[in-house]
Subunit: 208 residues, 4 copies
Amino acid sequence: MDKAFGQADRPTAPAGRRSSSSEATRQRLLTAAAELIAEVGWGRVTTRAVADRAGLPHGAVSYHFRGKQELLGEAAMGAFADAIPAGDFASMSTLADFMGLVRTEIGTHEAIDPVLSRLMLETLREAERDPWLRDRMGEMLQAYRRLMVDLVRREQDRGRVSHDVSAEGLAILLGAAGDGLLMHALLDPELDVAAALDALETLVVRSA
Amino acid sequence: MDKAFGQADRPTAPAGRRSSSSEATRQRLLTAAAELIAEVGWGRVTTRAVADRAGLPHGAVSYHFRGKQELLGEAAMGAFADAIPAGDFASMSTLADFMGLVRTEIGTHEAIDPVLSRLMLETLREAERDPWLRDRMGEMLQAYRRLMVDLVRREQDRGRVSHDVSAEGLAILLGAAGDGLLMHALLDPELDVAAALDALETLVVRSA
Amino acid sequence: MDKAFGQADRPTAPAGRRSSSSEATRQRLLTAAAELIAEVGWGRVTTRAVADRAGLPHGAVSYHFRGKQELLGEAAMGAFADAIPAGDFASMSTLADFMGLVRTEIGTHEAIDPVLSRLMLETLREAERDPWLRDRMGEMLQAYRRLMVDLVRREQDRGRVSHDVSAEGLAILLGAAGDGLLMHALLDPELDVAAALDALETLVVRSA
Amino acid sequence: MDKAFGQADRPTAPAGRRSSSSEATRQRLLTAAAELIAEVGWGRVTTRAVADRAGLPHGAVSYHFRGKQELLGEAAMGAFADAIPAGDFASMSTLADFMGLVRTEIGTHEAIDPVLSRLMLETLREAERDPWLRDRMGEMLQAYRRLMVDLVRREQDRGRVSHDVSAEGLAILLGAAGDGLLMHALLDPELDVAAALDALETLVVRSA
DNA sequence: TATGAATGAGTTTTCATTCAT
DNA sequence: GATGAATGAAAACTCATTCAT
């Protein structure tokens, strides 16, 4: 099964200059793919469904991408790349921002971005089996963690977070707690995420 | 694929008295299925692969189970049911126990149970799309959370955890952080889980 | 192209005891495949066409064979294995027999066996690119050549063939000339094969 | 595939005056096509592979040729037309020349022309199914045979070949033996072609 | 009770050809 | 003249499920 699966490199298509019309077609496929990963799960996405949703003939998929795994991989990573500068956690500069971000994402995630949360969790799982994806996700998570470390350090310097905890450890914890809450909340919409975040804030942010 | 997917009820097999040899065959299939879910992911498990791993004829699968989804569902839930009384988090009675549990699970998860961590994450994702599984997982997580609430309350009464945080919120947070750390650690074996847990302990457990 | 092509070994299916009904189904597919190779050429045979001709559903092909190349390979080698003991060149004991054999095969090949001649040529060409097939065909041709060497030696001992030619060389020549004539005759039905064989006989068989 | 297959006539492209740059492009495609037929076999050549090897855009193929079959057909026949005057068998004037030619072609075929031998065999097989190709190959083989007949007659007049064999028959035999040896030798590089040719020479050429 | 042969819907991928630019 | 994006038919292969034995 899946011989041609974890083949190390994934050249991500010629990547040379592409005509704008071709590029637009590619984008429609990528967007459709990202949506479908979020909706039905990575393993149940079919190339035909992607083409249908994009309003394109089926052959378009193989014309623009080397195969299904390349399409889905680029779709996921592209969606993350688009989301990050678009604001989301790029704008975090205080821990309160982080809390607010998670609160919003989870509490009303359907309103914000129907795609991104589920896409992230699906991709995290898939990445364990796809080396190319694992590398990309690894880099992304590391970048995110570095951002969190800086944020924690700033808060510690301001005296709002105790120096007793290591910034690195807390950054890892916050990132993991965020994704974990996301995952549990998606499964159980009744889950009192707010209470969990209140608890987290109480513990992390010094009242004084 | 998966026509009989979100079919509400799932009668969980004939359930009548089964001969012990039949029961043994069922068990071998369930064990094989649980292993494969963990290894290749829920969506890539095939009934043939399960039968092969169990060393049984292919027909045995449809003979003992209504279909693939029932087999996998029972396999996953059964594995969890086996694991819980087997010790794991049944024995938690202090927060330190919880910390120790997570530490062990993540730090040396391959040594403890190669199957359970991945199986849990796979099943959490799948459960969002399979009502029967969602209900079961929901119950399980709730039970787990109740256990955690009790644990937190005990620690608060002992004065080892501040009364400033709600026990419910902290329980949710701890559960989510555990799964989140598990997920991140599986993706990046270099991740400094210990630092994150140290941070968590520092924040939660009152030094005095 | 064709990564999974020249993969060295080809275990030719489990090969264990198969039920007689299964074996019959396999045989129908093999026969249909052999016919189609002869008719349309190795490269243009499709698994669907094979199944259709065998009067079986398309899935039968993948159920009974690992893939197209295994099906065609077994079909070809099986057809040769069936033909050899069936008489054809197994009964050769004099050079005149060989001449007669070639004469019959080529002159009226449609009447004798519509499949075998073309199948042989198609398989000879394909074998250059498929290691498993190459090995099998190599063995077969070698066996055939050994048979021819014995035959030539016998004729030399009887004084009907000159000792001036090496038996090995003549055996190779006769085999090659036979296949070459076959190939040319298939392309040009007007070709005077009889004249060529007369010439060969005159040269090889001592008049005295 | 190959709807327009046995369509009788094949107008061989516009044929009008072509610019020299266009002609050069055509030639590059033809050369690439001939190489690929020899390498992967007629049925596995794709138009894209031809364009890639020629270093030309994919559209160039349909621009310069009516379709794949026309491209491959012209490529093959063109390669033969180029090879013949280039020396090969144009220079034969004695039987020894013929022997020498076959010996060289087979013995060291990679060194002489990696393309031509395989291309010839591939085209001989394909020609049975493509009327246009069959006609062309028929003409070519006939011309070749006429040349051989003349050669044999000359040798007979010189007394080096017996008058007991018909020149026509021997010519057909020699041609077929040559192609047959080529085919067997390509499959089995160990084949003792020299011994076969020695035998042939001994039989055909009168020692005295 | 148990097996494994059979089936056919559905998946990914290939590719010659068409056609807009 | 040239190009390469687009298309859809057809290919091989997968696999859960059904069913005869």
